[in-house]
Point group: C2
Chain length 492, copies 2
Amino acid sequence: MFESAELGHSIDKERYDAEVPALREALLNVQYELAEQARFPVILLVGGVDGSGKGEIVNLLNEWMDPRHIRVHALAEPTDEERTRPMMWRFWRALPPKGKIGVFFGSWYSHPIMERMQGNIKEAELGQCIDEITSFERMITYEGGLIIKLWLHLSKKAQKRQLTKLAENPETSWRVTETDWQHLKLYDEFSNVAEHVLRETNTAEAPWIIIESSDFRFRNLTTGNYLLEAIRKRLDASSPPHPVGVPPMPPAIDDKTLLSSLDLTLSLDKKSYHRQLAKYQGKLNQLMRHPKFRNKSLIAVFEGSDAAGKGSAIRRISQALDARHYRIIPIGAPSDEELAQPYLWRFWRHVPGNGEFTIFDRSWYGRVLVERVEQLCSEADWMRAYKEINDFEAQLIAHNTIIVKFWLAISREEQLKRFHAREQVGFKQFKITGDDWRNRENWQQFDRAVCDMVDRTSSEIAPWTLVEANDKRFARIKVLKTLCDRLEQALD
Amino acid sequence: MFESAELGHSIDKERYDAEVPALREALLNVQYELAEQARFPVILLVGGVDGSGKGEIVNLLNEWMDPRHIRVHALAEPTDEERTRPMMWRFWRALPPKGKIGVFFGSWYSHPIMERMQGNIKEAELGQCIDEITSFERMITYEGGLIIKLWLHLSKKAQKRQLTKLAENPETSWRVTETDWQHLKLYDEFSNVAEHVLRETNTAEAPWIIIESSDFRFRNLTTGNYLLEAIRKRLDASSPPHPVGVPPMPPAIDDKTLLSSLDLTLSLDKKSYHRQLAKYQGKLNQLMRHPKFRNKSLIAVFEGSDAAGKGSAIRRISQALDARHYRIIPIGAPSDEELAQPYLWRFWRHVPGNGEFTIFDRSWYGRVLVERVEQLCSEADWMRAYKEINDFEAQLIAHNTIIVKFWLAISREEQLKRFHAREQVGFKQFKITGDDWRNRENWQQFDRAVCDMVDRTSSEIAPWTLVEANDKRFARIKVLKTLCDRLEQALD
């Protein structure tokens, strides 16, 4: 992987001085065009061995380009807010919006490489990290983001030479730390792990660009030229790359579906309802105060047709709890800051920390439900969303988050009854809008989308619970009981 | 202050049961109207003695209203991200956007009251906190926010009775902690401090509503009724209250101004420039790595006419530094999330933590410059902004932030020359837009706004530096030197 980057590449001062001015002007121009179009973000990772000039390259880009549109992230030790959430949360919160350049030193690669090198994780665990990373990068790419991954390489000999040179100069000696010398000793181990990781993550969407860095002029010019070409090319392309479209699974030819198999006549009488409501609300309250919950977090996702009773089911949960201990996030139209980010960003920002409980009233599943049916995103977008969502949830679960997902199902007739009833009620909440009637028109398409969603995103670790919701009492108790069961199991 | 709240107020069950349903419906309706209009946020503080039912009240409101539009903040111990910024940062980040209700238990009052009660701060320091709080609340109010401050009161006897009752019931005993019993012993001290603070912060914009809480029905109904009336009244009012408008200071009758007194012929030859550039860039780099800087933070504010050279002065600073150690925030049009918050919110979100340096390319001074001149806000808005800005900066400074503010001044002729030159250049950045020409038309009004701004916001602790910028070399060196001087002085 590093062969071509140990050839002793270099360029002379004349050529460098001659080429830099035009490169700078061109870089500035692509940068302003990027900002003006605000169609996609640029995510630049700068990795490599110590002494290869990662810092210099970043400083240089800030000098050559307009630093006002570059945001540099040197993510070292996580803060406590970061520590209580999945590892990727800190990168999500640092992602640049469309039109900006985000530079990451210390990217999502640093931690896995270091951990493997120090023997803290096994080959298999590293493999899992690599899977997560490639999925993440693919998602960013398909969302339009341009990921540029630079790896500044030095041979062992060149690294030693470089560190010695830095250490001898009083103006730069502060930059060479004890850790750097230790790393030099571990050059081979580091190099082996890095090479393995680079090879495995060298995808078509986001390939590694390896740059020999023993000659600073070669390094700088190569970096600048590559960056220029990559941004230029994307600016000139009309749209980001899309996964090849194979058609989605057709509906089963016997018309039997998950939803049509539900028994919507299930119901509960008033007396059993009140008895069970008290029972499960009490239980939920106790479970949430379980000492083990302090190291876990809980997410409840509510999806369902309009008027299926999501809001009232959620209230039966919140009633049981102290208002300090849960947070309800109603998902409506995205804000403009949210639109300038990949789809999942608006959900990542609400991920609960340890000991916290977040209830999503509608969720990331909007992508494969309303956005699919109303054609608010392309078929390719919602087709890839299943895997993106599964990856997202897997990360949460790996960080001790318990995810409980409900689909509240009602019949088309029951919905009509409820719409008419709402129109009679004084509360503003219950106004029936044009959207509601339109969604109703698309009933069959929604049905199909729901079945696909459940098939593709229900798993052992984050199963969907389909709730027969024609009878509100039955639905609320099923929701509460399921939540209690899942929590109990997780806290066991 | 608490006299009327120790009368033993109560209501009977019949009246309570009869009144609650209508109250709930009315509360829901104002809440939906609030969300729909999205004209202002509601900020509800719930304070009071232990055992008075602060938690119950918040839970009740979540039950009576739609919890999806309520965000509860129980701000206990600050996180490390919060700790390295001024105390109010955590409240700013938790402020509800327009249309939502934010409930604060543990508000900006908790810490000062506790600290004073425990004797950790003196009367005078408490007085300063109170000043900060009243300024903050006034600002929120004038920005349209509705602040409702509830204080749930119990007499000493009633508190003891209440805690004993809670402790005896196995279902509620967990809610009575050791701290509560300690607080009971300190009832008189607490009551004295609280009464003092409440009296001093009982402003016209945000008065305290003291509610006797020994009878839960009286407490609940009184709270609900008040909340309903307060939100209803604001919904029906056409606009938020505004400070009484006295006219701004007229220009001096001899036409002499701060700006007209600047000597714009000041310049620097190329040789001295390069010598001094190297000197001050080196010095700045060293100062930023000073061990003492780890407990401080730095903000540099750049304002100036279009084409005054802000960008190029900023680059002379960033060149001197490692890209990991500064962040440039260019201030343009606000996002919709920013528009849903008080004016200063968008700057608070970029406040640097300890050891960090943030450069604002244009800043909160836009309020008293472009927004004043272009009449993007009312006269009352920009008139009050001077004090709001001074209060903001005072909080930063009290938290060890060094603030350095530059106005880059050029003559009208010099600006025209630069506009023409820019039109010749290939870089997109230098496109001259209609805005630039329009601002130029308003030259005199800007002049006046700048002079007012400097007069009203330049202080010993956060002085303005007026930079004669017709000569770019002179301007850049003055900026660098001033920055170094201020840093050196602060790190001394």
